[in-house]
């Protein structure tokens, strides 16, 4: 392997690592706040990428229909909970009104926008923003329907629910997007040469977006009251309740952020890879490996793990391309062994 190949592989690995970093951050966020292992992450990758692809080809993004259906379901769940909850009596009318706006009116608004605007002529940034405007609320709704009612359950029960949500979203993905994968337009055709290495603008965009998101998340968690509230919930759920940070509110924020990061990751890989409804799962699993490096708790370690996974994948695809997935996923074993030796035993809180 000469320096040129080495550099190309490094560029490739870091670009992929940047995507895995976003996914790993989302997994750490969701797990630390809600204790849910966010398996449906992969579906958001597919949903995001395929929705942008549909917008670019001038088709009606069928995710809007799903959003309206899940929104209606969510509202029914909220209504049912409000009427049948005996513990806290007064029917929360204001709460139900907000719920109707979020779950019924908002998807309808998105439908109107999807029908009335010619999205294929819009700039790519607007298309991506519109796709995120669908996937983020979808993440929040999924939290409300599937996870909020059993927020106090054990990690294992929550994992089983997450598996169920994963398969449901996978099936729905096949139904609304079909079995064919798509690619999207590239962000930029620009590229430059540094020495012998061709640096593609595409890679730079991916890395830049990822870095900006990581920086924004850092500022959000470190400076804003809502970010601190999320961290507080992750550190001490009971303490958070004592100061009035609702567990469910924190969960909604975490799922919304994670859904947004997941679909953004999908959008970032879509120009270079054909993304189908089921592509996301393996990609998300690599993000999961990266998150495991950080023990599902540390953001910087998860980001470092993502770079490691990206580079490992890139170099192993050169030397042993048939085994590249095997090599990446086998990384879990030494990492877990190392973590279980070094960290104290934290089985279940």
């Amino acid at each position: 392997m000469d320096m040129g190949v080495f550099a190309v592989l490094a560029q490739d690995g870091i670009t992929n690592g940047a995507v895995y970093a976003l996914l790993a951050m989302a997994l750490v966020l969701v797990f630390s706040v809600t204790r849910v292992i966010f398996l449906p992450q992969g579906e958001f990758i597919g949903y995001g990428a395929l929705t942008v692809a549909a917008l670019q080809s001038g088709q009606y993004p069928r995710l809007v229909s799903l959003l309206m259906a899940v929104g209606a379901l969510t509202f029914c769940v909220e209504l049912g909970t409000a009427l049948y909850n005996k513990r806290y009596k007064p029917v929360p009318k204001l709460h139900l009104m907000w719920s109707a706006i979020e779950n019924l009116a908002y998807p309808a608004l998105i439908w109107v926008l999807a029908r009335s605007i010619g999205w294929q002529d819009m700039p790519m940034a607007a298309q991506i923003a519109f796709a995120l405007a669908m996937t983020i609320p979808l993440g929040i709704m999924i939290y409300r329907v599937a996870f909020q009612p059993m927020a106090e359950a054990s990690v294992l029960v929550l994992l089983i629910v997450a598996v169920g949500v994963h398969f449901a979203m996978l099936g729905l993905g096949l139904f609304i997007f079909g079995p064919e994968g798509s690619t999207t337009r590239s962000f930029t055709e620009w590229s430059t040469e540094i020495g012998a290495m061709l640096v593609s603008g595409q890679s730079l965009v991916v890395i830049a977006v990822s870095l900006v998101m990581i920086g924004a998340l850092y500022v959000f968690f470190d400076r804003s009251l809502y970010g601190k509230a999320l961290r507080a919930t992750a550190v001490n759920r009971k303490g958070a309740q004592l100061v009035g940070i609702g567990t469910s509110q924190a969960g909604r924020m975490a799922f919304g952020l994670a859904a947004g990061l997941g679909s953004l990751a999908g959008v970032l890989i879509a120009p270079l890879n054909t993304v189908g409804y089921d592509t996301g799962f393996v990609v998300a699993l690599k993000g999961f490996v990266a998150a495991i490096v950080g023990g599902l708790a540390s953001y910087p370690l998860a980001a470092a793990g993502a770079a490691l996974v990206g580079l490992l994948e890139s170099y192993s695809s050169f030397w042993a391309s048939a085994y590249k997935e095997v090599i990446v996923f086998t990384l879990i074993i030494p990492v877990l062994a190392w973590r279980s030796l070094t960290s104290g035993h934290g089985d279940e809180e």
Binding site: K89, K228, V235, K238, G239, L242, V243, G244, G246
Partner: protein
């Protein structure tokens, strides 16, 4: 010394009152038909042995029972029954609880802990800076340590953070569960000193203590809770002289 059925403080309106409050965990009864009253600016203490249901009483008033716990009866806050409201609502009304385990955000700074104490007031346009200054006036040590992680503080300092965090929500009623637990005597005296000074700001305090002597010294009124029932109540100074209380809770050298 008055009998339990006698209305304790007929003068003045009670800020917090429980009527026949019962708490159950599954089939286990932790608290039986407990009625207590608390007036504005008063310090009321509940003493009693371990397992008498003291913490259950506070958790039921706050609406923070574990998921297998249920409560019946009334929790009257300024005359309104809040027993069916959730914890955020009760916090908004002006109840705050410092639990036995403090439940601090250990990996965050002291100042962040305090700021989050004011989380429920975020929409009221209230500046938490003023609140922080108030807390730092009460606990000057917290100002020195405001950038330190809460988990690295000593037991007494953690208790100060916990009380400060609760005060940041601007409560009318502050409930303290075993504030002196695990503290050195000198630190304990400091905490009690602060508690007795909270009275001046109009905050009513409901105190639960193993250290009955110190608790009765700072309190206006007291209840003795034994196996889920109030068995004695009266002015704190009277309780401290009561032979039964002295024998069971204060020891011989009272």
């Amino acid at each position: 010394m008055s009998a339990p059925q006698q209305a304790p403080q007929a003068d003045g309106q009670s800020v917090l009152e429980t009527r026949n409050l019962c708490v159950r965990y599954g089939k286990v009864e932790a608290l039986r038909a407990t009625s207590i009253r608390l007036q504005a600016g008063q310090i009321v203490t509940v003493i009693g042995p371990n397992g008498a249901g003291k913490s259950s009483l506070l958790n039921a008033i706050m609406g923070l029972l574990p998921s297998n716990g249920t409560s019946e009866g009334q929790v009257l806050y300024l005359g309104h029954d809040v027993a069916h409201h959730n914890i955020e609502h009760r916090l908004g009304k002006g109840l705050a609880l410092v639990p036995e385990k403090r439940e601090l955000f250990t990996t965050m700074t002291v100042e962040d802990n305090l700021v989050l104490g004011a989380y429920r007031r975020r929409k009221s346009g209230w500046s938490y800076r003023d609140g922080l200054e108030g807390i730092y006036k009460i606990f000057p040590r917290l100002k020195e340590r405001r950038k330190q992680l809460a988990g690295t503080m000593s037991g007494g300092e953690r208790q100060m953070v916990a009380i400060g965090r609760a005060l940041m929500s601007d409560p009318k009623v502050l409930m303290l569960d075993e504030p002196s637990l695990g503290l050195a005597p000198r630190v304990m005296a400091e905490v009690f000193h602060v508690i007795s000074h909270l009275r001046e700001s109009g905050v009513a305090t409901l105190l639960i203590e193993q250290n009955s002597r110190a608790a009765l010294q700072v309190s206006d009124y007291g209840y003795v809770l034994e196996v889920g029932d109030v068995t004695l109540e009266g002015k704190a100074s009277d309780l401290a002289k009561n032979p039964k209380v002295i024998e069971a809770y204060l020891g011989k050298h009272a």
